[in-house]
Amino acid sequence: MSLMEQLNRKALGLGVPLSVHLDVTYRCNERCEHCYLEHDDRGEMTAAEIAGVLRQLADAGVFFLTLSGGEPFVRRDCFEIIECARSLHFNVKLKTNAVLLREKEAKRLRALGVEQVQISVYSHRAEVHDATTKVAGSLNRTLAAIRLLRLHGLKVTIANVLMRGNSRDSEGVRALAAQLGAHYTLDPTITPMIDGNTSVLRLRLPAQELGEVFHNAELVGDVESFCAPPPPVDEDVREGLPCSAGHTACYISPYGDVYPCVQFPLPCGNVRRQQFLDIWRSSSQLEQVRSIRAKDLPTCSSCSHLGTCTRCPGLAYMEGDMRGPSTADCEKSFIRTGIRTAGMLLRDAASAMPGLVQIQLS
């Protein structure tokens, strides 16, 4: 077992929220077409409020802190927040488009001991990236910032969200990351907007293109193993947790709302009205999330993919049932292995069933 796995297991046993994702704003200087957020400011927490929350998180044992947005650097006090986080000894990861970062900022992030900066790059071609962000020149500015961050010794991860329109560019982005000395991570997940609006799902990668990605050794490594049929489901899998959301991780919005995860918009409390630890320990919503084991999932517990599926309970929740299947993850499991999931078989059966009222036209 790796040290990270041991750490997660220990945190789980102690009931410690090891990782917190805090969005400091939903405002943004880009308008990415797949974004799940509304960018208006509805009264985001002040730096002083955030500092208070950070102190509570440190006391609660939080170690991994992701600061994101929106674009965190549109806040003029963003560095103040980062400095506060580092003074409380968090491992800080920033998610940013880096458009506002120059030499001075790169140097300062390095001096502060920020562990890594994750930056979204949609294509190595400016016309594709800029069309996604809807900001002319954004790719050039982002790449210039990545070079500066690397020059100052920061670890940079390029996150390549795949969707309609850029899926053929993943190898180009990967090569660009290698050239810049950045890590590369690929993500084919497009989520509904946080208010439940599903219009952005039209951007999800078509099945054929996702299949090409899953069978590309340059992107997934060992294709045979990645696309292998799932192994038999054992008792450990059935007793397992769906994911870390609400167990060792949670999400806090710029307005202080606490959720199990950034992709799981189940309101559990608000740090403006309650102490974080009271929410973490006593929220009935979090208790509900924590009570679920893989064997309790009505459809997925009978699925052959149970042990290998990337099922996201947040996406399932947005589809109407946190215990239900997540359609997107069912599709990924199917595209990866060619084996239909229990969720798909259920839908097949439902669509084949005649309606309660049959009308025959003569």
Partner: protein, 109 residues
């Protein structure tokens, strides 16, 4: 015996989890897990208190061990962390600069 002083690097994150401490280096993202005894030394590594004082006042007091036994182990531990760049060792007190001003104070660019 020359006195040794130890100070945590500013390029690390750390948190006490149970009785142990997790440490991650921002330089190479390496993760460390410090035992209960190592945690006591780590927390006392303020750059001002000598290692022998840390051993005498903290380690020996809390773990019922003799200084002549504990000190060589503590020094070896400190040297190992220093090799990984997450702890500084010096023959003199080490000035430690706080990571940041308190929030709300003026922040110099």
């Amino acid at each position: 015996m020359n006195e040794k002083y130890i100070a945590r690097s500013r390029q690390v994150a750390y948190r006490v989890l149970g009785e142990e401490t997790i440490v991650m280096s921002a330089t190479d993202s390496r993760l460390f897990n410090l035992s209960e005894v190592a945690t006591v030394i780590w927390q006392a590594a303020d750059g001002r208190t000598s290692l022998s004082e840390i051993v005498n006042r903290r380690v020996c007091a809390e773990f019922d061990v003799l200084p002549q036994v504990a000190y060589p182990d503590a020094l070896a531990f400190a040297e190992e962390l220093a090799r990984h760049g997450i702890l500084h060792i010096s023959d003199r007190p080490i000035p430690v600069v706080e990571t940041s001003a308190p929030i709300g104070a003026a922040v110099n660019p």
